[in-house]
Each structure stands twice: as C-alpha cells, then as structure tokens.
C-alpha cells in the first residue's frame, strides 16, 4: 500500500500559517496602543505614517517584520504550491537522489567485510536494515572478457626464496577480496584472511580464519597460527545509510568506535606483540579530511584530519582516529612499519553502495534528473586500483624494512598517509551517466531536467519538513543529498605516485565497463536462479 500523500495538505496549511503573522501584527499593534489603534484603510498610503506616529520603535519594527512575514508567505504561496505539485508530478519523493547522492556511497566506505556487517547489523540495527544484505552479494567471479593486466609484470613481493606470509584482515569484504585476489596473482606470497565470517567470497589458494578483531584473544590465536610478515587491515563496518533513525545512528556510532578504533587498536597491539610483523597497511578513508558538506578541492596530505566538531560524520571521524593510531605505532613495536591509505569513492565488482544505487536508479528510470550544474569534480576510485595501491604500500614498507638506515623524510613511506584515487577526477554526473550508459541508457543531455543547487536545497527543505510533520521519516530527497551531488571533492595523489610508484592499473572507462558488466551478469544469474526455483 502506498503511503498517503501528505504533501498536498501542506498547501492549505501553508496558507493558514501565512495568516498567522498578520494576526500577530494586529494583536501587537492593538496592544501597544491600548486598543485605540486606527486600523482604517490598512493598505492605504497614509497607513504607514499612522503606524510610525502611534508606535514606538521596537513595536514598529516587530509590526513591520510580522507584516513582511505575512506578505512574504503569501507571495511564496504560489511558488510553494507549484513546487509541491511539481515534486509530486516528477515523483521526487520516490528517491530521485537516493541513487546518486548517498553519503556513504560517495565516501566509498563500503569496503568492509560484508559478512561482518551482516552480523553487526543484526546485532545493532533493526532487522529492516539487515534484510538488504543478502541481496547485495553474489559470488565473486573472474568471468570477464578482458582479464586484468598481469600483476607479475608490474610488482611482486620481495624475497621470493621464503615466501612472505600476508594476512588480510577483512579479506572477505569488498576491497579485501580484491586485495586477496591480486596477492594470489603472482603467487609468491602465502595469503591468509581474517574476517568475522569467512563463508563468502573465498578464493582458492588463501587460507581463511574466523575471528572478531575486537577480541584480543581471537586475534592473537590467528596471528600465532599465521605468523604474518605483512598485515593489510581493511575491515570496517559499513557506514550507515541515510534515513536511519536516531537510535540506529547512535548504535552505528558505537559500532564504528568499537570496530574502527577498538578493533584497530587491538590489531596493532597484537601485531606488535607477536614480533614477526614487518609491515602493517591500514585502509583509512579519504573522508577523514572532509567534513561531509563543504567543497574539497585538490586536497593533498597537508590537509588536516578532522575531528568533531569540525568532523560531523561519526564514521569518518573513527577512521581518522584509527589512522592516527596506526601511524603512531610506526617503529613503536620493534621495527614494525605502518602506513595508511585513504581511498576516495570506491566502486567495482562486489560494490554494495555506489554502483548498485546507480543501477537501481537506472532501473527506476530516474536518468532524466540531475541535481546541480555538474561542474563539480569528484574522485571515484576503482577497487582494483585501491587493492593495487595496498600491495604497492606493502612492498614499499618491506623495502624500507630491508634498509639498514632510515630513509630521508621526503622519501619516507612508513608512518605516512596517502590518498588513493583513480587520478582522474570526473564531473559528478558524468560518472553517473557513464555508468548508466554502460548499463544501456540512451538519455541525451537535452532530455535531462536540471534542478540547480539552490532550488534543490529549497525543495529538499520543504520535503524534509513535510516528512517531519508527517511522522519523522527521512525523505529520499534531503538537503544532505543535494549538497552531496553538488559538492566538489577531489584529491591530488602525487605523493602516492612519487613514493609508492602508484598509478591506476585500470583506466576509468574500463573500470566502469567491467563493474557494470559484473553486476549485469550477476543479476542475470540471480534472475535465472529465481526462475528455476
């Protein structure tokens, strides 16, 4: 059953509200003049003069403001009414922006172990959230027409005589799985995975261990079994979706803190204590330096990691705290070296936020809307490139470890943070349109209805307000989403280029094509399975 449409009632309500300041002004004036106020011909030219004479300054000010509020409201009524009608006709509430402007989607923070997320979800969130989880993950396959370039040609882990043991924390997650897959490519390393639940996304050749990173004993027992030289820590709970209730937000905040900060602390301490770990690579987030709403233009590593109150997003804040923890541990535990990578806007095969949301919007036929002028550059990063950067970082740490002297400051990788992107900032909606095009969309720019930022914000305000009146649900069009799709956010990755030798292995075009193809193949398979059942 569709929910009743409350927005139409907003129009008469608006009108009634518009009358209120008028009453107020009348009351004000009558009281100020002890009821002797001459209210004859209130719209006449002489009226203002009468007011000025008979009222003191403060009251006059209040009176005029109230009058102005009344007139403003009446003037705005037609605009408001048509906005509501337009919004209804255009189907805005049905989630126009939902697909593209989701906060977590843009952050690309969906690199968590999804198994972990599923479990935490059922613990901390209402069952409503966890029901989406099983649908998000199909089996991960390499059935692509164009295989990735051979990794061996570009990189292999050092000291091949005794293969390095690499432990990937969160290796069953979105990003983790790509890291494991790339580590297995040249197969010079012994690859192990630690994750909360390791039933999904297993790859042949790696060994899998179930453990909760917030438990010191569990972590220690796995570390003693694996004895890793390299740890790559990518585990993190999924950033909460928009539209969560206050209680969910609070629960999520506690969870972020527990897993991101507490879990990372446990890992660092245990890895340091065990003695065999030489390199510790942590997956931070590019959003650690971003407050979530203002523009971020060509940011590099000089930008400060933000804390509350500047950092409004709990997830990003805990990522930043964990990053600081990891970097502070550099050379603190014997000669264990640490590094943090900050990827921005991850997408790719197995992605659970960015691409699925876009494809859902395409499925709903929402390709003809655009929020903002599309002049805002944005960084989207292919997951394969992020995984590749992790391996480069691990190699760089191992190289540093083999040195007898400490590297110079400007050549140092250990104890440093690096932004990782595709190094190809794109106009926000160009990326979106390219994904839609790869999925088969034929929309031309002439058919696109652009809502500029100001109008979008006003509409969102109205819609949010109406939803608030109607019972506190979060609408699909929110100011935050409008801000997000109109925001500039791109980074400079020169430091990673210079010190890690990083450069994207997959260009944007190929990355989008591979990703969309993967989703379409998966959906086709799902469809088939459903039919069989």
């Amino acid at each position: 059953m569709a929910p009743p449409n409350y927005s139409i009632y907003a129009i008469p309500t608006f009108y009634l509200l518009a009358l209120v300041p008028q009453f107020y002004s009348t009351v004000l004036v009558t009281r100020a003049t002890n009821g002797r106020f001459d209210n004859v011909n209130p719209r006449g030219a002489a009226f203002a003069d009468t007011c000025r004479k008979s009222l003191d300054r403060a009251t006059l000010g209040r009176f005029e403001r109230a009058k102005a509020a009344h007139v403003n409201a009446l003037e705005n009524l037609p605009l408001f009414a048509s906005a509501v009608v337009c919004a209804n006709m255009a189907g805005l509430e049905c989630g126009l922006v939902n697909s593209t402007a989701q906060k977590p989607l843009v952050d690309g923070d969906g690199r968590s172990a999804e198994a972990q997320m599923a479990r935490f979800d059922s613990h901390y969130f209402s069952p409503m959230d966890s029901k989406i989880v099983p649908t998000l993950f199909g089996p991960y396959t390499h059935s692509h027409s164009n295989p990735p370039p051979p990794l061996t040609a570009m990189i292999s882990l050092p000291s091949p005589k005794t293969p390095n043991s690499v432990l990937v924390i969160g290796g069953c997650g979105f990003l983790g799985r790509h890291i494991v897959s790339q580590l297995l490519e040249p197969s010079t390393a012994k690859v192990s995975v630690l994750d909360l639940r390791t039933t999904n996304n297993r790859l042949p050749g790696a060994s899998y261990h179930d453990a909760d990173i917030t438990s010191a004993e569990a972590v220690r027992s796995v570390l003693e079994k694996v004895k890793p030289q390299i740890i790559i820590h990518t585990a993190s709970p999924t950033a909460i979706q928009d539209g969560a209730s206050a209680a969910q937000k609070k629960g999520a905040k506690a969870l972020y803190h527990k897993v991101n900060v507490g879990g990372t602390r446990t890992l660092v301490e245990q890895a340091g204590a065990i003695g065999c770990v030489k390199a510790f690579v942590y997956t931070s987030s590019a959003s650690a330096v971003h407050d979530g709403h203002s523009d971020l233009i060509n940011a590099d590593e000089r930008w400060p990691v933000l804390r509350a109150p500047l950092q409004k997003d709990a997830y990003s804040e805990t990522k930043g705290m964990a990053e600081e923890l990891v970097l502070a541990a550099n050379r603190k535990y014997g000669d264990m070296l640490t590094v943090a990578l900050r990827p921005a806007g991850i997408f790719g095969e197995g992605d659970m936020q960015l691409i699925p949301n876009l494809l859902r919007a395409y499925g709903k036929g929402q390709t003809r809307f655009q929020l903002g002028g599309n002049e805002n550059l944005f960084d989207f990063t292919y997951v394969g490139n992020v995984a590749y950067a992790h391996i480069l970082a691990a190699v760089a740490l191992m190289d540093t470890h083999a040195l007898t002297t400490r590297p110079l400051d400007h050549e140092r990788v250990d104890g440093e943070a690096f932004f990782i992107t595709n190094a190809q900032p794109l106009y926000f909606w160009d990326f979106t349109r390219m994904v839609w095009k790869a999925a088969g969309d034929q929309t031309t720019p002439e058919q696109v209805w652009t809502i500029d930022r100001g109008l979008g914000l006003r509409l969102a305000t109205i819609v949010e307000w109406l939803f608030w009146i109607a019972g506190g649900r979060t609408p699909n069009l929110t100011r935050q989403k409008v801000q997000f799709s109109c925001m500039t956010r791109f980074y400079c990755v020169d430091k990673a280029r210079k010190l890690l030798g990083y450069g994207p292995r997959w260009e944007m075009e190929e990355a989008i094509a591979r990703t969309v193809q993967w989703f379409q193949e998966r959906d086709a398979k799902d469809g088939l399975e459903k039919k069989v059942q």
Binding site: R65, D300, L377, L426, Y427, D430, R433, D441, T444, F490
Partner: protein, 483 residues
C-alpha cells in the same frame, strides 16, 4: 569596411561589441616598434609581416626590442618555406633541394626566388626575399643559429612529407604520423621560440629541459587549426586528420562532410578535439615559465584562441559545412584576458573547458575520455592556483568582541530578530495547536469516536471504510471488545 551582418550581430551581442571597443581603446602595447630608426629593408620586412599574417603581426610587433626583429624574421622565413612547400606548381625535383637547403639561402646576400606559381598569395615575399636575408645577417649570431637550425629541420621534414605525397603514400595514417607532421610544422617552432626566449633571458631556462612542453605549445595550436579547417582542407584535397581516427567513424575521408554522416563525423571530430585537448594543461605549464610580459602575451594569445576555437568546433556540425571561426568580439575579450597574467589565462582555459564539458554528451563514444581530459585541465589549474588552503581549514579561534563595536551591536540586533523569530514561531504553532484543539473538541462534542479511529490507525488502516455499514460494524465490534 563594415558588413551589415556584422552590424546586426553586434547590435544583438552588445557585450562583444564592448570588448572590441575596450580592446581598441585601452590596449597598450608593452613595447612599441620604432619605425623611424629602422633600415628600409626592415620596414619592407614588417610590411610583409602585415601582409602574410594578420593575427601574428600585431603581437610580434609588440615584442620586446631584443626579440622583435629575430622573431619577425623567423616568421617570414618559415612563411617562405611554407609557401614553397604548399606550391603545387613547383616540381618535386626543384622543390626538395629548395626545402632542404633553405637554411643556407636565408643568409645568402641577395637571395630571392621567383619560381612560385602566379596565384600563390605570398609569392611576393619570396620574390623580394633579399630584404629578409639582408636583415637576417644583422641578427645576433646566437639567434641566427637557432633560427637556421629550426629552418633546416623543418625544411627536411617538409621535403620528406612532399616526397610521400608525391608517391601517393598516405602521410597521416596513424596518430603517431599526425604528431610527427605537427611536430615538423609547429612543434619545431615551439622549440625554436623557446630557445630564443631563453637565449634572450626573457624565459626560465628550465623550459629547455622540458621538450614535451615546447612541443605541446605548437601541437595544441596546429591540431586545433587542423580540426577547424577540415572543410577548407577537404575542398583543397588535403587531409591531415589521421586515418587511425577517422577510419573508426567513416569509410572514406570525404564522407566526413556528407550530411548523412553528420553524427559519425561529429563523434570523429570529438575524438580529434580530445586528442588536442590533452595538450592544454602542458601549455599552461609552459606559460608559467615566461617572465617578460610581451613574450607572455605573444605566447598566451594564440593558446587562448586555440582553446576557444576548440570549444567552438566541439560537436559543432557547422564545421563540416563552412569555415567557422570565433567572432571578433570574443577574440578581443580573450586577448584582453590573455595579455595580463597567467591566472587570467587559466580562467580563460577553465571557462572554455567547462563549456566543452557542457556540450559533451554520453552518446559520444569519447564522452568519458573528454570528461577526464576536462577534469585534468581543471585539476592542473588548481595545482598552480589552489583555491583552498589547508591551513585555513583549521578554524581560527574567534577574537574577543568589544561590546561597543559595530559587530557587537550587529550581533545584538541579530539576537533580537532571532528572538522575534522564535516568538513568531511560537505564535504560529500555538495558533495551529489552538485551532486543532478547537476542531477536535467540536468534533468530540458532536460525537466523533477518536478512540475507534486511533486504534484503527494503529492497525495500519489509514483510509476510512467505504460504506457506512462497515463503519458501524467496526464501532460495534469495538464496543463489544472484540478487537
């Protein structure tokens, strides 16, 4: 001579007219030529400069006195070389040695050449070339060597090119061929000019260590002109678009201008634009190395014009119908912005980059690549002129406020209007609440069953029952406690 169409155009485009007037009135040359102190042969050279090039003549004549004559002569020499190369009436046997030895002729006293075809528009320059050689021999030896070296290289490149054309080899097959051709006709000029700038101390010597930047300066201009002149070149049976690109879209080069292939031709042209656009950021990089204003103007104006032209031709079907070019008004505006500093030139680049991005369409197979190229230019501009400073992100502590200051008063006023707003809101919601209470009260008094309505609502039934009987039965049930 003013055309009626122009008058009409500028009557509508007042902004452009304003640009023209401003440029004509306010533009001041950085350096001015001193015709009274010039030898007669030099005056003749400048007359030729005016005749052979309208666009370059003005900027050359404003150059720093140190480089004025060398660059003017450099231009005329290359123009002479180009005239010989283009001339189809000269046989290959005669042409090849002329081109390959041209660097020697330029120093030869009294050398000139009268063998050009009668219709060749710059024929007269070669006929009276002794004026150029005479002046050239007065130029400083260091500059002379540079100019001769470039003339030699370009002459050889052109001779190779002519031989290939004669033997009917398709000269621009691959993108590599295209780059090589552009290298000979434009990249070398970039190299020569850079050496002149550095030699005279008017540019940063680091530019010499970055040959790809010099190359980009030339290639960006040349490639843009090649794209713009497609119609004209095709009519003259010349083809410079590389086969590697156009063969993806049409079977024969001539098909590009056929109306039925318009969409394919547009996609083809956008790949050409993309190819050219990839040089843009390096051109800005190069311009950052120029120290002297007149040299900067000389180098920046053509580059700004090129990006504007690129924007004009991008996805513009008219380019296949006629020769298009930017309007004079726009040109004047761009020239004004390009003769000040690099920051304004960057603004010009950003403006036209965004315009290109606006015209970009997902139907185009090069859509994403063009978007990336535009993003790359914008990002590069950000690296030289950052619009954000990481230091300012950390908020500065607010300074204590003096209660008597204007800010304090403003704040008090703001606080007062804020409290007014709160009162107003309270009044609004109070009224709403009151009215609601009254309405509910009246309804209650007349016997409304809110208890029933509420429990039905909590069970998720939002619409009222369709007929009165159903409503009655619900109430009935309710009163009996059957729910």
């Amino acid at each position: 001579m003013v055309k009626t169409t122009d008058v009409l155009y500028y009557a509508v485009h007042v902004g452009e007219l304003r640009s023209i007037i401003q440029w004509q009135t306010w533009h001041q040359a950085v350096h001015e030529r001193r015709p009274d102190q010039e030898a007669p042969s030099l005056t003749i050279c400048f007359e030729f400069l005016d005749k052979t090039s309208r666009s370059f003549s003005a900027v050359i004549q404003e150059l720093h006195p140190e480089l004025l004559v060398p660059i003017a002569l450099f231009y005329l020499i290359l123009r002479g070389l180009d005239t010989i190369e283009d001339d189809m009436t000269i046989s290959l046997e005669e042409k090849t040695p002329l081109l390959r030895d041209f660097h020697n002729y330029v120093e030869k006293e009294g050398w000139n050449y009268a063998g050009s075809g009668p219709t060749e528009k710059d024929r007269e320059l070669l006929v009276q070339f002794q004026n150029v050689t005479e002046e050239f021999r007065k130029v400083k030896p260091a500059y002379r060597e540079i100019i001769k070296d470039i003339t030699l290289k370009m002459g050889n490149g052109m001779a190779d090119f002519c031989q290939n054309v004669e033997h009917n080899i398709d000269v621009v097959n691959t993108i590599k061929d295209y780059d090589l051709y552009c290298h000979y006709v434009a990249g070398l000029v970039g190299n020569g000019l850079t050496r002149l700038f550095v030699e005279s101390g008017l540019a940063n010597p680091v530019l010499l260590d970055r040959p790809h930047l010099q190359e980009s300066m030339g290639l960006f201009l040349q490639k843009t002109n090649i794209i713009r002149d497609i119609k004209e070149d095709l009519d003259d049976k010349r083809r410079f678009w590389p086969k590697e690109i156009w063969s993806k879209y049409v079977n024969n080069f001539e098909d590009l201008c056929k109306p039925e292939n318009r969409e394919a031709a547009l996609n083809c042209s956008s790949e050409m634009v993309l190819n050219s656009l990839n040089h843009a950021d390096q051109c800005l990089f190069y311009l950052a190395g120029l120290k002297e204003q007149s040299v900067f103007n000389f180098a920046a104006i053509p580059q700004s014009m090129a990006i504007a032209t690129l924007e004009l031709v991008f996805r513009n079907p008219k380019m296949f119908e006629k020769n298009i070019k930017i309007t004079k008004g726009e040109a004047c505006r761009i020239m004004m912005q390009s003769t000040q500093n690099l920051k304004l030139v960057c603004e010009v680049f950003r403006e036209f980059t965004r315009k290109i991005h606006k015209k970009n369409t997902p139907r185009d197979p090069n859509f994403l690549k063009i978007s990336i190229a535009c993003g790359k230019i914008e990002q590069f501009i950000e690296t030289i002129y950052p619009s954000q400073d990481p230091k300012s992100i950390i908020q500065e502590p607010a300074a204590p406020i003096d209660p008597t200051s204007k800010e304090a008063k403003d704040q008090a006023a703001a606080a007062e209007s804020k409290s007014d707003l709160v009162y107003m809101l309270i009044a609004v919601f109070g009224t709403l609440f009151l009215i609601s209470c009254i309405m509910f009260g009246v309804a209650y008094a007349f016997g409304a069953r809110f208890d029933v309505a509420f429990s039905e609502l909590t069970r998720g039934k939002l619409s009222k029952p369709t007929d009165a009987g159903a409503a009655q039965s619900i109430i009935h049930k309710y009163d009996r406690g059957e729910l």
